[in-house]
């Protein structure tokens, strides 16, 4: 019984969390400042009031928080934990990589860890190096963890639901620059989608662009700009990075013969390399070398004008599109 509501990206996550808490009594929602204050970005506002003690604030103890999620998940709960910034995962990375990821496999399926980690990442103007990183590649090298990255309000709603419903650990990586954007119509209350899949944001013939995260907006802008020069592109937004929809990418590249991968994370060792490697290994013929656009391999400076020089801009994507298509 699906209806629609006008929601921001943050509002859509709030609605999805409310639905999870409502329909799945085994869910718990916790993190720093998420309950009484409603989250530093207001995403969890009202949930404590509506759902009582299942929504609670924790000490500034990411290791305890994530460990508690693993233990509660092992014993039948379905915890949803907020790590305020992806950068802060690193104080407790053991609980994700050495603990959550191992539960099902090492126990030969006797235990499971159906937990969801909500976090957000990336640069926002003026943010310091310790609050700006794009860390999805670290998680994507870890077998046993699923990763989703919604960019629009509908996906924010849908992916959150799918993540919480998933019986494995899922990290949902949000983006704080999106929370309070414009409202859009969001279908709510519909069936929960299985994890996986992609979104085709633009359709075209000259090049396949694979992208994910907030930079999808810049990719769309770049594609719209080069349309004037007669370049058309398939834009595949990987809303799920694990599982990653390799087949969709290959099918598109088979048609376009060209590949550009764009991510906000720095280039070296980013997940863009994996996408390029899979396409090249597949033997799909390419009419030009594949390309990647990502941040420079530096730290992220706080100064806005310096950060702009480090992070990929729409103009960089335009240049790469021109170079890869030769137009």
């Amino acid at each position: 019984m699906s209806e629609t509501a006008k929601l921001t990206y943050g509002g859509a996550i709030n609605a999805a969390l409310a639905r999870c808490l409502e329909q799945m009594p085994e869910t718990l929602l916790f993190g720093e400042d998420v309950a009484l204050p409603g989250g530093v970005f207001g995403v969890t506002r009202g949930l404590r009031k509506a759902f009582g003690e299942r929504v609670f604030d924790t000490p500034i103890s990411e290791t305890a928080m994530l460990g508690a999620a693993v233990g509660a998940a092992m014993t039948g709960r379905r915890p949803i934990v907020e790590i305020m910034w992806a950068d802060f995962m690193l104080v407790a990375f053991d609980q994700i990589v050495n603990q959550a990821a191992n539960v099902r496999y090492v126990s030969e399926g006797r235990l499971a860890a159906p937990l969801t980690i909500r976090t957000q990442q990336g640069n926002a103007p003026g943010a310091c190096a310790q609050h700006s990183q794009n860390l999805e590649a670290l998680l994507l090298h870890v077998p046993g963890i699923r990763v989703a990255m919604p960019v629009d309000a509908q996906d924010a709603y849908d992916l959150t639901l799918s993540a919480v419903t998933c019986d494995d650990p899922v990290v949902v990586i949000e983006n704080r620059t999106l929370y309070a954007g414009a409202k859009s119509e969001v279908r709510i209350g519909g069936p929960v989608e299985p994890i996986g899949g992609h979104r085709l944001r633009r359709a075209g013939d000259d090049v396949t662009i694979v992208t994910w995260g907030a930079i999808t907006g810049s990719v769309e802008a770049a594609v719209d700009l080069v349309a004037e020069d007669g370049i058309s592109a398939d834009v595949i937004e990987a809303v799920w990075l694990n599982p990653f929809d390799t087949e969709a990418v290959l099918a598109s590249v088979r048609r376009t013969g060209r590949l550009l991968v764009v991510h906000e994370a720095n280039l070296t060792g980013g997940f863009g390399a994996e996408v390029v490697a899979r396409v090249c290994e597949s033997g799909v013929p390419l009419s030009a070398p594949p390309r990647r656009v990502g941040a420079l391999d530096t730290r992220i400076p706080a100064a806005v004008q310096l950060a702009q020089a480090v992070l990929p801009q729409t103009g960089d994507i335009v240049d790469a599109l021109r170079a890869v298509t030769g137009k």
Binding site: E26, R54, P59, T63, G71, Q99, S107, R110
Partner: protein, 317 residues
């Protein structure tokens, strides 16, 4: 003097662990078990005393030094042995091995090979209990050295702040691997840290199963009554190396011999003898443990190795 049934039961349970560990040692030395193995000879009184106070609904989290904890919790010896021998009948089909196995169907939620990492996870099992009506108490075991791993303090504080039903058991065997704990702390009273977090804390002689049982029993009741966590520091000594192959050259001369005099089996046997139990009875207890473990080992060795073609299974649902 009266001999309680519990004393004889404790002796049997400790012998089972001792013989299990001895058997594992010999299988490891003759190459049928491979890799790093941590034995708990000398520390048997802690799992035995603690586990006798746990109920089916309770969740136990141990360290890599966990064979005896699993056995005391009721995991069949054959399932443990088969696990270390990588058999299909191992509790995890050999995927966990000596240092990382679990058997949740017996309330044994697993070993952990990252020092201190089990403590926050146990807090999670206690958190679940707050909502699921199970009455579960979560028990987490770690060593003296693990007290210096930040996550343990985080876990204790979170359990205290939320009044969660957790029992923190610190097996203080004086060493972290090859280094004495007293060189790594200023204040050797580790339980003071729990006190400072507002957690009732007690230090017990961890070579006496009765003392351990008393403390754990009280801790379980405290947790059940919604009064939150308890911290138990159980002092003990391992009378083997940290891992099989550890030459223990870091031990001062004579220390091991001294420790062997006070190890829990020797000690309980001496006590029972003073209480009038005959040598025959005592030998009978040991013999029973030997027979059981030998049979379990035989069954484990007879089982087929787990099948390499299954190696891809169970990563995700």
């Amino acid at each position: 003097m009266r001999v309680s049934g519990e004393q004889l039961a404790d002796l049997l349970a400790m012998w089972r662990i001792r013989v299990l560990e001895e058997t594992i040692l010999s299988l490891r030395l003759d190459g049928r078990i491979v890799g790093s193995v941590h034995l708990e000879n000398g520390q048997e009184a802690i799992p035995v005393g603690a586990c006798r106070m746990l109920r089916p609904q309770d969740a136990l989290y141990s360290t890599y030094r966990g064979h005896g904890w699993a056995l005391a919790r009721g995991v069949p010896a054959t399932g443990i042995m088969a696990e270390l021998l990588y058999r299909r009948t191992g509790v995890n089909g050999g995927r966990g091995g000596s240092a990382h196995f679990s058997a949740p169907e017996y309330g044994f939620y697993g070993e952990n090979s990252i020092v201190g990492a089990g403590a926050p996870i146990a807090v999670g099992a206690a958190l679940a209990a707050k909502f699921d009506g199970s009455g579960r108490v979560a028990v987490t075991v770690f060593g003296d050295g693990a007290m210096n791993q930040g996550g343990v303090t985080e876990a204790m504080n979170m359990a205290a702040a939320m009044d969660l039903p957790v029992v923190f058991i610190c097996e203080n065997n004086k060493y972290s691997e090859l280094t004495p704990i007293n060189d790594m702390v200023r204040n050797p009273d580790l339980s003071a840290r729990a006190h400072a977090l507002g957690i009732p804390a007690v230090r017990v002689d961890g070579n006496d199963p009765a003392q351990v049982a008393t403390a754990v029993g009280l801790a379980v009741t405290t947790a059940e009554h919604g009064r939150g966590p308890t911290f138990i520091e159980a002092t003990t000594r391992r009378i083997v190396g940290h891992y099989i192959g550890d030459a223990q050259s870091y031990r001062p001369a004579g220390e091991l011999a001294e420790d062997e005099k006070h190890e829990p089996i020797v000690r309980l046997k001496k006590q029972l003898t003073l209480q009038g139990v005959t040598a025959e009875t005592l030998d009978g207890v040991e013999q029973r443990a030997r027979t059981e473990i030998a049979a379990a080992t035989e069954r484990a060795l007879a089982a087929p190795l787990s099948d390499p073609s299954t190696a891809r299974e169970h990563l995700y649902v």
